[in-house]
Symmetry: C2
Subunit: 332 residues, 2 copies
């Protein structure tokens, strides 16, 4: 299994072979692989890294090992539901799987490939469902990275943009840099620019200014988990954007593959928010800007209440409020 | 004239002797000295750097040189009105000044010292006028740096906090890091922490999260220019905070010495917003994070409309809406 180390972008394109399940856990934890769907896919394949069927006496032994690995990988990051979702699919397959270690492994590899292939189709479907939102000459604002680097191929939030571009529609994208780990400047600005889309990078605190100048027509982001009522957990800063969007009467869309919907969470209040290393806020890339040991809060996500979300863009269509019944239908 | 190079804080305390008016211009431009009142004071003293009265034939020659310097220094940064305000005071004194080069210089040095001394008194008065806002146990959010490093001694926005601390009131301050130049993490977190105040540093995009958790009771910032109607130009990100404050029904106060009021600007729309070097946004403390040459917007300030401001805290009292008549009175 090979992973592109996203922490090194855009300066270096480094492909890291994953040699152990511990390494996969660390890669997810350190955001070398990131983006809700990509985490799920990495975890699915990650269950099988360095797993030699010949080393197991019988079916039960390999099933136990894979179950242990699934439990372990699930702890790498708490907020994106896709991680648990993909591992649960692998677990279901595990319990249905065949009679000897080699066929157990083969069966699970097939399931991981299926998750990966479905993800590609879902991104394409999100692109098609959201294409009508992207109008010629529009200014679009996005936050963090929900593009090709977060998922397969087209991404989620950026999928309609890539499809629009392919169809010859011209538009312009403001990209929030997305502190502390700068996924916006490092990843989104990079991948949009590479694909020839007109990009302007701003600091997170400039979004209100840009909106106040009438320079934003639409905001679109991804999500890490959508609760049953439509509350949206996404990268820290999304809630602020949603409040600004409401103030300036701008539409805010959340691109959400159905694997990111978690009907077990009644509302966003139940979603666990990952708190990360304070040093991420004290500096960047090893350069410290703040006093040593200064007290820091570093929530990786926030929750945007459903009433601030104009629409949830899924692979099966664009949902508008009230979200509850439609989200439930979608997961049937 | 000595300046503390604020761009090197908190890692290094470097005092730079200012040896030419060009160097002073660069120091203001590069934010080695920053904060609206401090820029005014630095410019006032800066007029006299390396100015030897013996080098001038007569009064008219030195007056012309100082007038030229004033015109030049005024171009260092456009948004903070205090720069023009202080230089105008120096110009007025210049025209009233005495008969020979040495006495012209002495007279202007006296005026610069007066501006500096008045500033100290104004900060003390702002502290006293704002003290009642700071209640025990409060959580206060501030943005950028309007503290001791921006002004003399107590600062403006931080002045009531320092006075409250001195009076034994305990409270906690969230400090926005304030991208791109990180005045919050480098300066505000540092100076509050040094003075024993309980501080938590956050990224700018975390303010909405912190407010949504009920962890903010009051927001206070400085300003670079207040228009006649009460619209407030301040560090980029202030407008966003003001919109969030309104959403969460939190009070937002702007600390404003009367030297920051500009009655010539009817509304904030007339205030020129400084656009700075794109590389400030492309990187973080000298580390590049974004693709080279990516398009960037880098406004140093934004304008918060008066209707989002709960109160303007001046050395003569706390103004509440409507601001127009009171601001006019204050400048009489």
């Amino acid at each position: 299994m090979l992973l592109l180390d996203q922490t090194r972008l855009p300066h270096e394109i480094k492909i890291e072979p994953q040699k152990s399940v511990t390494q996969v856990w660390e890669s997810i934890r350190q955001l070398k692989v990131r983006g809700a769907p990509a985490i799920g896919i990495a975890a699915a394949y990650g269950l099988l890294v360095d797993l030699d069927p010949a080393a197991f006496a019988d079916r039960d032994a390999i099933v136990q090992e894979i179950a242990n690995r699934a439990e372990y990988l699930e702890t790498a990051r708490p907020t994106a539901v896709n991680l648990a979702w993909a591992l649960n699919r692998m677990r279901n397959r595990l319990h249905q799987s065949a009679s000897n270690p080699a066929s157990v492994r083969a069966s699970l590899l097939q399931e991981a490939r299926l998750i990966h292939a479905e993800d590609r189709q879902i991104c394409q479907a999100i692109a098609e469902q959201g294409l009508h939102l992207i109008k010629p000459g529009m200014n679009i604002l996005t936050h963090c990275n929900a593009g090709a680097l977060a998922v397969s191929e087209l991404g989620t939030a950026l999928a309609p943009l890539y499809l629009a571009r392919k169809k010859g529609i011209s538009f312009h994208v403001y990209v929030d840099e997305t502190r502390p780990l700068l996924q916006g400047s490092r990843l989104t600005a990079w991948e949009l620019d590479q694909s020839g889309i007109d990009v302007t990078l701003i600091c997170d605190n400039m979004a209100a200014y840009v909106m106040s100048q009438g320079k934003v027509d639409l905001i679109i982001t991804g999500t890490d988990r959508v609760a049953a009522n439509g509350d949206v957990a996404n990268k820290i800063g999304t809630l602020g954007l949603a409040i600004l969007a409401r103030h300036f009467k701008l539409p805010l869309y959340i691109a959400c593959p159905s694997s990111s919907i978690d009907l077990d969470m009644q509302t966003g209040e139940e979603i666990e928010i990952e708190q990360r290393d304070p040093d991420e806020v004290r500096g960047f890339a090893g350069v410290r800007a703040a006093p040593e040991n200064i007290n820091v809060l570093n929530p990786a996500f926030d929750v945007t209440p459903a009433n601030l979300v104009t629409g949830i863009l899924t692979e099966k269509g664009l949902l508008t409020p009230p979200y509850g019944p439609q989200l439930a239908d979608l997961c049937k």
